[in-house]
Symmetry: C2
Subunit: 239 residues, 2 copies
C-alpha cells in the first residue's frame, strides 16, 4: 500500500470523502518542492479532527485538490500543560517552541521577566514554527502560542486551579515529588539566560513547586526539554 510521505497542517475540516483545497503556498510545496502529483498521498491534520490520508486529485501550479480517504490517527490532545518561557535569542526561541510542540505542551506562553531582553515577539512566526514542528513529530494537535505577557501580571491573574512547576537554579539536590501534588492543570516556568530575579524567584517559590535540573546551569532551551521530560514522566502522557 502506498504511504503518505508528507504531513501537512490545514485549516479546513477533515473527514472521509471531504475535499481539501490547497492554497498557493501548499500547492507550491507539494507539487513543485516535493514533486508530487495526482494519485500521490498526503497526511493531513488540522488540530481538531485527527489525521487523514488524502489523495491528490488535482495538482496545479497555484492550487490543488486533495480528497480525504481514511482517518489514520484520532485526535490526540496533549495534557493540559502550559510552557511559560522568557524569549531569548531568535534561534533559541524557535527551538523552545519546536521542543514544546514535540514534547506535548498545550499552550506556549512567552513572558517578560526582570532579566528578559526581548520586548516583543513575532507571535505569528512562532505559531507557524509550532505548526511545522507538529507536522514533523506526528502530533495531531498544534500548541497555542499566546501573546507576550509580563511575568508579574501573569502571576497576578493566575488561575487558582493551575499548578506551577518551576526550575530553581538555586536548588541543589532536593526535588518535590510531582506525583504527590497531582492535579491535571499545570504550567512550567523557565527563566531567561540570566535566571529569575530574587523577587521573581520568591514569588514562584511561594506559588509553585520547585524542581532541580541538576548541578550544571542549563541553557533555557535545554531546561525547557528537561523540565517537560520530568513533568511528562510523572504526570503526563509518557506513563
Amino acid at each position: 500500500m502506498k504511504q503518505a510521505k508528507v504531513r501537512l497542517f490545514v485549516e479546513q475540516p477533515l473527514g472521509k470523502g471531504q475535499t481539501v483545497l490547497m492554497d498557493r503556498d501548499q500547492a507550491n510545496y507539494l507539487f513543485n518542492v516535493m514533486r508530487m502529483g495526482a494519485g500521490d498521498l498526503v497526511a493531513l491534520f488540522n488540530g481538531r479532527d485527527g489525521e487523514f490520508t488524502a489523495e491528490v486529485v488535482e495538482a496545479g501550479k497555484r492550487k490543488g485538490v486533495l480528497l480525504c480517504q481514511r482517518q489514520t490517527k484520532p485526535l490526540q490532545l496533549p495534557p493540559d500543560l502550559w510552557l511559560c518561557f522568557a524569549p531569548i535569542k531568535k534561534a533559541r526561541t524557535d527551538f523552545i517552541v519546536e521542543k514544546a510542540a514535540e514534547m506535548g505542551a498545550a499552550v506556549i506562553q512567552p513572558m517578560q521577566t526582570a532579566f528578559t531582553n526581548s520586548e516583543r515577539i513575532r507571535r505569528d512566526r512562532l505559531q507557524a514554527h509550532a505548526v511545522e514542528a507538529t507536522e514533523q513529530c506526528g502530533g495531531t494537535y498544534v500548541p497555542e502560542l499566546r501573546e507576550l505577557e509580563r511575568l508579574d501580571k501573569l502571576l497576578t491573574i493566575w488561575p487558582e486551579d493551575r499548578q506551577i512547576m518551576f526550575c530553581d537554579e538555586a536548588l541543589v539536590g532536593a526535588k518535590e515529588v510531582l506525583g504527590e501534588v497531582g492535579g491535571d492543570k499545570w504550567a512550567i516556568f523557565i527563566g531567561p539566560e540570566g535566571g529569575f530575579s530574587e523577587a521573581e524567584r520568591a514569588k514562584l517559590r511561594d506559588m509553585g513547586h520547585a524542581v532541580s535540573l541538576g548541578p550544571r546551569i542549563l541553557r533555557a532551551d535545554t531546561a525547557a526539554v528537561a523540565a517537560l521530560t520530568i513533568w511528562q514522566q510523572h504526570l503526563g502522557d509518557w506513563g
Copy 2:
C-alpha cells in the same frame, strides 16, 4: 568583591599561585573582544583541577599572563555515562554535543547506523564545541569526544559491565524502571532521524533497557536531552 565575568578552559595545570599563559586566541578573546585588562578576574578550569579565579597580570595583544588566586569550585566529575548518537545535520549535531556537555555526560560517542547519512565528523570541531558548552554551563569537566564508530562494531566489542539504555520509538506506554537495573556505568543510545533499523533495534532490545519518550516522535536532539534527563533523574547526579 569583584567577580569573574568570563569562564575559560585552559590546558595548563591550575593551583593557588600558579601563573597561566594565554595564547594568541585567548588573549584576543579576553583583551580585545571582552575588553578586559590587568586586575580583572577570569574563572579558569582545565577539566582536572576544578575551577580557579585568576587575575589578569599582563594583557598583551598576542599574549597575556593570569595568576590563579583561589579555587572556586572543586572538580566535579559527571556520572560514568556515555551518550551514543548518530550524527545528523551539522547544526543538530552541534546541539547534541552542547546538550550532552550541559546535561553531564562523560563520553560522547558518535556512531554510524544503518540510516545515518553522515560518513564522517570533525572530531576536533565537536570537541571544541563541548569545551564551549562547558565554559557556559559552569561545569568543571569536559566530556570526551570519541571518533565516529559503526554501531554494529560498537556492540560487538561492548564492555560487559556497561548497561545500555535505548529509546525505542516503537515502545508506547511501558518503561523499565532504571532504578531497579542499577549499575554505575551506562550508555544512552539515540537513533538517527530515520530511527534504528529493525535489526539494530532487535540487537539493542536484546542487550539493553528500552525506555519510552512518549507518543510523539522526537527529533534526535530533543530525544538526547529527554533521555539524559530520565537517566540523570533516576541514576545520575540530579538526585
